[in-house]
């Protein structure tokens, strides 16, 4: 059985790199989740989005520039997630695309990052046909919630451990990417429950497929790029990181 | 000698707009050529074809009589340097020196060679004193110069510039144009620049091409091109101010002219002569 999965992983992978659209592989496509899970995931996602809205509203009242700031940074993260990152995978070089949620969680905080991810997913679902409307809740769960919170905590913990800015960014990018794929795998794995399959086995298999096709390397590469980005911004405009609360104050120089 | 040649280039953007519809242009070695045209006429698109950044749908680009496809992109980028309109889009490194070194570094040169090239490029654009400054601390015109230095550090034979004077004050315009003229005359670099400012052209340029709606309407010396005023009007352009004055004088006041003066110097000579002529005519 596992051999069969390997073969299909390869077929799947070839299918992926052959299509120019191998972009948002981590999004679950419209129509795949049954009604029960559609409702569940929406129910899980709603509170987080709600808290995100509350955060934006509160901050906006204190400083009105916050709304356009979330808008432009959200757009920047979206564009970042379109970068064709080259990764070394099964059959040599291929390109894949970062999730970007790790970066947005670091820049905007986890709750606002969920909100931004939700909007990005809506835009992708509608205008790129990546993901879907009924699967929006599920995708918000994996990419928005898991991605944002894991990335955010990775960053904070790394900072607590006094790692340099680069490694903080690296961990945020890598961990959030990993968790996004894990979330997607769990959601797909849950589908076999009650159909005679084993949830753990299916999840592990799907996660394995993701990791073996380019996404495994992508996690590391996304980490490196996010690390580079933070260092670059720190070198050129440290005020930005200070303003967003990534680093504490100007007096103590951040290790690079 | 023709060094770079665009043959019948047609190009369509993703959204279906035809930005170029059969544009052809010959660029001679060592000349300073201006491409003039209204907004959206395809200047930037044509410039991006000249070093293979965009691939034409039909037609081809010949670099030294060989199709661009026969070169590796590294070779082409080394031979044809391009400077875009907004300097803020092109300065990546925190300091001036590092930014200029970006190209040579990617060429895989030795450290000494890189340092030499950076110094040389900076002195060419007259920015040696600013080598260690942060990029953000520079004025707009200085940033432009650093962009040019960054490309010069790769020792291109051809320099392509997109609206190098846009957004600069008159003194800045003069200084950039003088720099380009110097690079052209003293270092033999072929220069092609797109511009919207007609007044610059007769003063600095050897030849000019007029673009309109994705086509090259006419090519020639400023005198040749500007004497066909209908074509200029048709391309939504204007004559240089001096030429406008001379044109009314010729057409409405019947001043006799062999060729139309285009610069302040030419106009002055012409006017002084005319008056002297009238003078002597009458006193005879």
């Amino acid at each position: 059985m596992s051999r069969a999965v390997t073969v299909f992983a390869i077929i799947f992978f070839l299918l992926f790199i052959s299509s120019e659209n191998a972009v948002y592989a981590m999004h679950i496509t419209e129509g795949i989740l049954p009604p029960k899970w559609v409702i569940t995931w929406f129910a899980v996602a709603m509170p987080f989005v709600g808290i995100g809205i509350y955060h934006v509203k509160r901050k906006k009242r204190q400083m009105p520039v916050y709304l356009p700031l979330v808008g432009t940074l959200g757009a920047a993260v979206f564009v970042f997630s379109c970068f064709p990152i080259p990764v070394i995978a099964l059959n040599g070089m291929a390109t894949s695309h970062p999730c970007g949620t790790g970066m947005s969680a670091v820049l905007l905080g986890p709750f606002v990052s969920v909100l931004v991810a939700a909007i990005a997913l809506l835009i992708q679902a509608l205008f790129l046909a990546h993901g879907g409307l009924t699967t929006l809740g599920g995708n918000i769960f994996s990419m928005g919630i898991l991605g944002s919170f894991s990335g955010y905590f990775a960053f904070k913990i790394a900072q607590r451990c006094r790692l340099s800015l680069f490694w903080c960014g690296f961990l945020a990018g890598m961990v959030s990417d990993l968790f996004t794929y894990l979330g997607t795998s769990i959601e797909l794995g849950l589908l076999v429950i009650g159909k005679g399959g084993s949830f753990i086995k299916a999840t592990a298999e799907i996660f394995g497929v993701f990791m073996m096709t380019s996404q495994g390397v992508l996690c590391i590469v996304e980490g490196i790029v996010v690390g580079f980005i933070l260092v670059f911004v720190y070198k050129r405009k440290p005020g930005i990181l200070l303003h967003l609360g990534l680093i504490k104050d100007d007096t103590k120089p951040v290790q690079i | 000698m023709v060094i770079l040649q665009a043959r019948n280039i047609q190009y369509k953007y993703h959204d279906g707009t035809y930005a170029l519809c059969g544009a052809s242009l010959d660029i001679k070695k060592g000349e300073l050529l201006a491409i003039l045209g209204p907004n959206g006429s395809g200047k930037t698109t044509l410039l991006k074809h000249l070093n293979g950044l965009l691939k034409p749908e039909t037609g081809e680009i010949l670099l030294e009589q060989k199709s661009l496809g026969k070169y590796s992109s590294k070779q082409v980028f080394q031979k044809v340097g391009i400077v875009f309109q907004d300097p803020n889009d092109q300065l990546f490194a925190p300091s001036v020196k590092e930014d200029v070194a970006f190209g040579p570094l990617n060429l895989g040169l030795s450290k000494d060679e890189i340092a030499r090239r950076v110094d040389e490029a900076l002195s060419l654009v007259g920015m040696t004193l600013h080598a260690n400054k942060a990029v953000d601390a520079l004025s707009f015109g200085q940033k432009k110069r650093i962009c040019i230095a960054g490309v010069l550090a790769m020792k291109p034979e051809i320099l392509v510039l997109d609206e190098p004077t846009c957004g600069l004050d008159p003194a800045g315009v003069t200084s950039i144009m003088t720099l380009l003229k110097e690079l052209n005359e003293q270092h033999g670099i072929t220069i092609i620049m797109a511009t919207n400012t007609v007044d610059l052209v007769p003063v600095y340029m050897d030849r000019l091409a007029v673009m309109y709606q994705g086509n090259v309407l006419s090519v020639g010396t400023p005198n040749e091109v500007f004497s066909n005023t209908d074509k200029i009007k048709h391309a939504c352009l204007e004559l240089p101010q001096i030429a406008q004055l001379m044109q009314v004088l010729r057409d409405e006041n019947n001043f006799p002219m062999d060729s139309m003066p285009l610069t302040v110097g030419e106009a002055r000579r012409f006017l002084v002569n005319t008056i002297r002529l009238k003078h002597s005519e009458i006193s005879m």
């Binding site: 129509g31 959200g74 757009a75 205008f127 046909a129 690390g227 | 889009d89 990546f92 490309v151």
Partner: protein, 262 residues
């Protein structure tokens, strides 16, 4: 344009045709309800019916077949993946067993059937979403969402993000090109580094833009309120007809038990 090949644009939605002129509220209502039917139905032909109707509707407004197909490519590969996984994993009855390069593959009937059903739902659902997106501009969408009481913060952010995505795509494209002409992408290592710089520039740009935009908004009286007017015309006879239509379709489907509602 390199890496932005997959970028989207509203070119089709900005055209004028009878589908773009349908009221956005009606469209949203239809799409959401039809998506629900698509999900709930046990009948494999209903999603396929949606697929064919969506396709023919899009073709009547002269949207190129290839454009539709291109946007379906990724969901399609996803669907095939699901089909195969289910075919391999679910059920007992062997439908086909074959061996490829030494591996023995057993496709089972029940799994394949279930997979086929999911496949059809993917196709039906995606075609409905595409039908909406190819005929609705973002500003119509915002107005529609506002009418359905979606929180203002989401709508404002949706509009802002959508607007700035295009701007940043252009800017990033220029920067990327500039890096490329100075050989920033000639090896794997350089590429990663150049992307880091590009992303950093993007963040810095986003920050500067936010400040300038805020200044421009402030100068027009913005103090933290909403940013869209989003006025919709009042309901016309046509819209009422459409809404009554969907009610009939629903009751018909429930009556004929193609849709099982728990």
């Amino acid at each position: 344009m390199g890496f932005l090949h997959h970028t989207f644009s509203e070119v089709y939605a900005r055209r004028n045709n009878w589908l773009t002129e349908v009221d956005v509220r009606v469209k949203l209502l239809y799409i959401v309800l039809l998506l629900a039917i698509n999900l709930l139905t046990k009948n494999i032909f209903i999603p396929l019916f949606f697929l064919s109707v969506s396709f023919s509707l899009l073709l009547t407004v002269k949207i190129p077949f290839t454009a539709i197909l291109r946007s379906m490519l990724l969901p399609l590969s996803f669907a095939v993946f699901i089909l195969l996984i289910r075919g391999l994993h679910e059920g007992e009855k062997v439908w086909l067993s074959l061996s490829i390069v030494g591996y023995k593959l057993v496709l089972k009937e029940e799994g394949l059937w279930n997979g086929l059903q999911t496949c059809s739902k993917v196709l039906g659902g995606i075609s409905l979403v595409i039908l909406l997106s190819f005929t609705t501009t973002i500003s119509q969408l915002c107005a529609g969402l506002k009418w359905f009481r979606v929180p203002n913060t989401i709508i404002d952010l949706l509009a802002l993000i959508y607007r700035y995505i295009f701007l940043f795509l252009d800017e990033v494209d220029t920067m990327w090109t500039a890096q490329r002409t100075r050989l920033g992408y000639t090896s794997w290592k350089k590429t990663i580094k150049s992307f880091g710089i590009l992303g950093g520039m993007l963040v810095i740009r986003a920050f500067a833009r936010a400040e300038q935009t805020y200044e421009a908004m402030h100068a027009r009286g913005y103090e933290g309120g909403g940013i869209l007017t989003a006025t919709l015309p009042p309901w016309r006879k046509k819209e009422y007809v459409f809404v009554i239509g969907i009610v009939f379709v629903l009751s018909f489907l429930i009556y004929t038990r193609h849709v099982r509602v728990w």
